[in-house]
């Protein structure tokens, strides 16, 4: 019975994906046993944060067919909003009796960043992609991709002109010393980041699978004309998708603000990392992006551990290139789906 179920899962996800998952699992366990469980904690914390950014990217590609290269800039906007909301309360943090505001301010910062990211997403869709969609007949992927690159440049330089190129940072969000988990000391900020990204991912998943609008988003990603034919308001779904995606990136930026000070090009690393993830799992697959985020996090952590911290982008990229040579559609790729679509 259990074996049959396992075989079912195997068939559904595909051999490559299953082998990859097993290898990753073995690597995680092996390294955790030989080098210590702190690796596990590192993978989880890095994976949670990366999945927030990567899922938004996958969503935008899956639903709107946009190769979003300004995604990291939404992360940047998140860090910026968090800075301006949280830093006024920073001196409270080191007073003798930190009040409720110390705990409330980080939460406020994250929520504000999410809201601003959402609004920016709406504006981006309404001001940029909607006019482009009306005018573009073919070549949508290329045109929209170029537009996002331009948008990214404008946002980076806009940040520099308005807020300057210096680092705008807070020292930390939450009071208190590091917490001991499995022999690794985790700062309360990191712990909070893990919990927040976990909650957001669950919330996102519930939205996509249980709500009316969420199912509409999934439907649009599968067939735009079909969605129109059953009465789904396409422009609304596009706007919502862009808004959610930008909101997720901004939330990630705000949550990680204690690690990433806000400066114009802070979004570069999240952009690249989330593109690694999305390419690795196959474009437009949000659930896959979540799993892929943990894989890329694992590659990164293991590289830092065994090879050296300067290599943490090189080895994952090389691995992804290798995987793509053998499975160009990504490990959860849509080879089956496109066959089925015929």
């Amino acid at each position: 019975m259990i074996i049959k179920k396992l075989v079912d899962i195997w068939k559904k996800t595909g051999t490559v994906a299953c082998v990859m998952l097993l290898v990753c699992l073995a690597l995680t366990l092996g390294s955790a046993i030989t080098r210590g469980p702190y690796l596990l904690v590192n993978v989880i914390s890095a994976g949670c944060m990366l999945s927030l950014v990567a899922m938004g990217l996958a969503l935008v590609f899956g639903v709107m067919n946009i190769g979003m290269f300004a995604h990291g800039e939404m992360f940047m906007i998140g860090t910026l909003v968090a800075y301006f909301v949280a830093s006024p309360f920073q001196n409270l943090l080191y007073e003798e009796h930190p009040g409720l505001m110390v705990y409330l301010a980080p939460l406020l910062a994250v929520l504000a960043a999410g809201a601003v990211g959402f609004v920016v997403g709406v504006l981006v869709e309404l001001l940029l992609f909607r006019p482009l969609r009306k005018r573009t007949k073919g070549n949508w992927v290329m045109n929209s991709f170029l537009l996002t690159v331009g948008l990214g440049i404008i946002l980076v330089n806009g940040h520099q002109i308005i807020f300057g190129a210096n680092y705008k940072a807070i020292t930390k969000y939450l009071p208190g010393g590091a917490v001991d988990i499995l022999g690794v000391y985790v700062s309360p900020d990191r712990l909070a980041a893990i919990i927040i990204s976990f909650l957001v991912v669950i919330g996102f998943w519930l939205f996509m699978s249980k709500t009316r609008l969420g199912t509409a988003v999934r439907a649009v990603s599968q067939d735009e004309t079909g969605s129109l034919m059953v009465g789904i308001d396409l422009p609304l779904i596009f706007t919502l998708t862009m808004a959610i995606s930008c909101g997720l990136a901004a939330v990630a930026g705000a949550t990680l603000h204690f690690m990433y000070p806000s400066y114009p090009s802070v979004g570069l690393e999240p952009t690249y990392l989330s593109w690694f993830v999305v390419i690795l799992v196959g474009l437009g697959n949000t659930t896959g992006a979540m799993i892929g985020a943990f894989m890329v996090a694992l590659f990164k952590v293991l590289t830092v551990e065994y090879v050296g911290s300067g290599w943490d982008h090189v080895v994952p990229t090389a691995l992804i290139m290798l995987i793509l040579i053998f499975k160009p559609s990504g490990i959860f790729g849509s080879a089956v789906r496109s066959k089925v679509d015929q």
Partner: protein, 236 residues
């Protein structure tokens, strides 16, 4: 008039396909639109369904102008289009596809009632309710597309090539279902077809289109008896 087009011109970009198309459907009428490949039959349906904006002319449904409305608004008014490509949600189960079809219906009771009706009409879909839509056979997918269209309680259903790619038996099943819907639910049906004999036998009224123009219209049995039609479409 229940659904009519008035001097409808439509096309893609600069390419005009339809010229001065006038179609009138009474409520509860089962009609067809015949013609050879590439004459604008599908374009006509798409324009009525709101997937293409008309260049000129009107589409009037129930006394209201619906020409130029977006597709989702047209569905809300009660006109449903079943395309030739079917446009199913291939990665969703049959059941989920049907529920998506009821997207415009807010009342859960109504959705459930309709689901039972549709499953009753297409027994095959009931057996396969958990299967992914993309993994079904052509006939089953056609049934699913029509069933999905029915889920929104439409008053008019526009079906593009119901017999395309189907075996003769399956074509019969699909036509019978449309006939049942037409009689039981008083559903207005407009089918676009190339299979002229079958269609003219099943429908009440017909239009014949050539090069984007309606060249002939009338009762189906008259069309079936018409010498020109027999020569061009029936190969007699």
């Amino acid at each position: 008039m229940f659904l009519k087009t008035e001097a409808l011109d439509a096309g893609y970009g600069f390419l005009q396909i339809l010229r001065d198309v006038n179609i009138c459907l009474e409520e509860g009428e089962f009609s067809c639109l015949l013609g050879p490949n590439g004459t604008g039959k599908t374009t006509t349906l798409k324009t009525i369904a709101g997937l293409i904006k008309p260049m000129k002319g009107k589409v009037i449904f129930n006394g209201q102008e619906i020409g130029g409305l977006a597709g989702n608004k047209v569905v809300q008014k009660g006109v449903v289009y079943v395309s030739e490509a079917l446009n199913l949600f291939t990665n969703m189960s049959v059941h989920d596809n049907l529920l998506m079809g009821a997207f415009t219906v807010k009342d859960h009771e109504k959705i459930k009632k309709r689901l039972d009706y549709v499953y009753d009409l297409f027994q095959r879909l009931k057996q396969r309710h958990g299967q992914l839509a993309g993994t079904m056979s052509g006939g089953e997918r056609k049934m699913l597309a029509i069933a999905r269209g029915l889920m929104s309680y439409p008053k008019v259903i526009l079906v593009d090539e119901p017999s395309f790619g189907l075996s003769p038996q399956m074509t019969d099943v699909v036509f019978d279902a449309l006939d049942v819907l037409n009689r039981e639910q008083n559903l207005t049906v407009l089918v676009v077809e190339q299979n002229a004999t079958k269609t003219l036998e099943a429908t009440k009224n017909g239009y014949v289109m050539e090069n984007g123009v309606i060249v002939m219209s009338g009762a189906s049995k008259d069309l079936l008896a018409d010498e020109g039609i027999q020569k061009t479409y029936l190969g007699l």
